[in-house]
């Protein structure tokens, strides 16, 4: 004898009911948690920008951000200007840090003029120019905040990723990799060269800062290549801004 639950009508009604219940449950969680998640993302952006200019709570080996409760105050203390570069036009925007780089890259592909955010910070009498950049790793997106001086010499960098392999490509956000970028030159003979993540680097302590190379992570070749390509293509867009600094 077939059970009541085996009939086609019951099956269709059950499926429809389940879709409604699950849909409502997920919609409830998504809308209830969205403000907290958005706030986390906003705080993270401020923490990343501050990290790239050396404002962090790093211990001997670990990368540690300014704590969540202090970040808003510290951000307004250190970040003096937020610029948006669009073609030849440079404007100030106090919410430039909220610009979505992914959306800007998509707009650029569609032929629209892209907005390039740049944050100017000041610490111990020294000026920092921090640029957010985004590229492709092995599995998904990689992105970074690179702090530079007026000569495009890196003063600090924070790298992150969406889905690189734990223990391999994911190590781009470890201090041993990020710290190698400090002092590294992006220009060579006044033209933009970027920084290559080099497997053949014979300089594991990264003492030669003018070779435009940092040591690669073992087992993360494609992620490293993605980081090199991201730096080359994205930071190049800021060269004209840095040239205006020299002429002024």
């Amino acid at each position: 004898m077939s059970k009541k639950t085996d009939s086609n009508l019951y099956t269709v009604l059950f499926a429809a009911g389940m879709v409604l219940i699950v849909g409502a449950l997920l919609a409830f969680f998504a809308s209830a948690l969205k403000p907290t998640i958005d706030e986390n993302k906003r705080i993270e952006k401020q923490q990343n920008i501050l990290y790239a200019m050396g404002v962090n709570e790093n211990d001997e080996t670990n990368a540690i951000f300014i704590s969540k409760d202090k970040v808003a105050e510290v951000f307004s203390k250190y970040i003096t200007k937020q610029l948006v570069i669009q073609g030849d036009k440079i404007t100030e925007d106090p919410k430039a840090y909220l610009i979505d780089i992914k959306k800007e890259q998509t707009a650029e592909k569609e032929g629209k003029e892209r907005r390039l955010p740049l944050f100017i910070g000041e610490k111990d009498g020294k000026k920092f120019y921090i640029a957010p950049i985004r590229g492709k790793g092995l599995w998904d997106a990689v992105w970074a905040y690179v702090g530079m001086d007026e000569n495009m010499v890196v003063q600090g960098a924070y790298f992150d990723h969406k889905g690189e392999t734990a223990g391999l490509g994911a190590n781009i956000k470890q201090r041993f990799f990020m710290d190698d970028f400090i002092g590294e030159h992006l220009l060579k003979d006044d033209s933009f060269k970027g920084i290559n993540i080099s497997k053949s680097n014979n300089d594991p302590k990264n003492e030669d800062k003018t070779d435009n190379e940092v040591d690669a992570i073992a087992g993360a070749t494609i992620t490293g290549d993605g980081v090199s390509a991201m730096i080359k293509s994205e930071l190049k867009k800021y060269v004209s801004f840095f040239n205006t600094l020299k002429t002024n």
Partner: protein, 214 residues
């Protein structure tokens, strides 16, 4: 009388050893290979699976008499996917850093064979309490193996545990590195996870001959 009957207690203890989902049932191997390069990721994955399997088994058990048999696999998938999305959202809201560490791996819980296996083999035929114990037991058995594999892979592959340098500094050549020790990069590659799991299976079977198949 204890809190659990002997039969109920076995639902928790058996998956640790004689009926371990990874080493005996050979399920959930993919995630054991994918996320165990770091101990932290192993621990969070184990806790996430504990929640999804514990709650999922109860939900399926409560619905077991009303689920149409023709679409039971789809219903099980919907339950596990819903729970995984909830875990992902809650982590993003309340443990943001952790959710980023795990990245895509939380989503991979949906494909974990252990979860669908327990829904199908146990929760559809048992009451909510016993299903809950079965879910917790299997998730703990899975988590223990993940944590053992993560421990050895991070220690021997990176010289660290939970990100802390425990063997010294490989660049400055301090600690064990001063005596010529080198990190074994192979440990960070997925095939080495399979070898570590194989070694655990070997040790387990050599200690309990009843597990050896003729």
């Amino acid at each position: 009388m204890g809190l659990l009957s002997k039969k109920d207690a076995a639902l928790i203890t058996d998956p640790f050893a004689d009926n371990n989902p990874i080493t005996i049932q050979v399920l959930g191997i993919c995630s054991a290979l994918a996320i165990t390069a770091e101990l932290k990721a192993s621990i969070v994955m184990a806790v996430s699976v504990l929640f999804v399997l514990g709650v999922g088994n109860v939900v399926i058990s409560l619905m077991r008499n009303i689920i149409p048999s023709k679409i039971r696999i789809i219903v099980q998938l919907i339950v596990v996917a819903t729970l995984v999305i909830i875990v992902d959202q809650v982590l993003k809201a309340f443990a943001y850093e952790l959710s980023k560490t795990l990245g895509a791996f939380i989503g991979l819980i949906i494909t974990n064979c252990i979860i669908m296996g327990r829904f199908e083999a146990f929760a559809l035929a048992n009451g909510p309490w016993r299903s809950f114990l079965d879910g917790i037991g299997n998730a703990l058995g899975y988590g223990v193996i993940l944590i053992i594999v993560g421990f050895f892979r991070e220690l021997l592959g990176s010289g660290t545990l939970l990100g802390f340098k425990v063997l010294g500094d490989p660049i400055e050549k301090t600690g064990l590195y001063a005596f010529g020790y080198e990190n074994n990069g192979f440990m960070l590659l997925a095939p080495m996870a399979l070898i570590v799991v194989g070694i655990i299976i070997w040790i387990q079977r050599s200690r309990n001959e009843a597990l050896i198949e003729e």
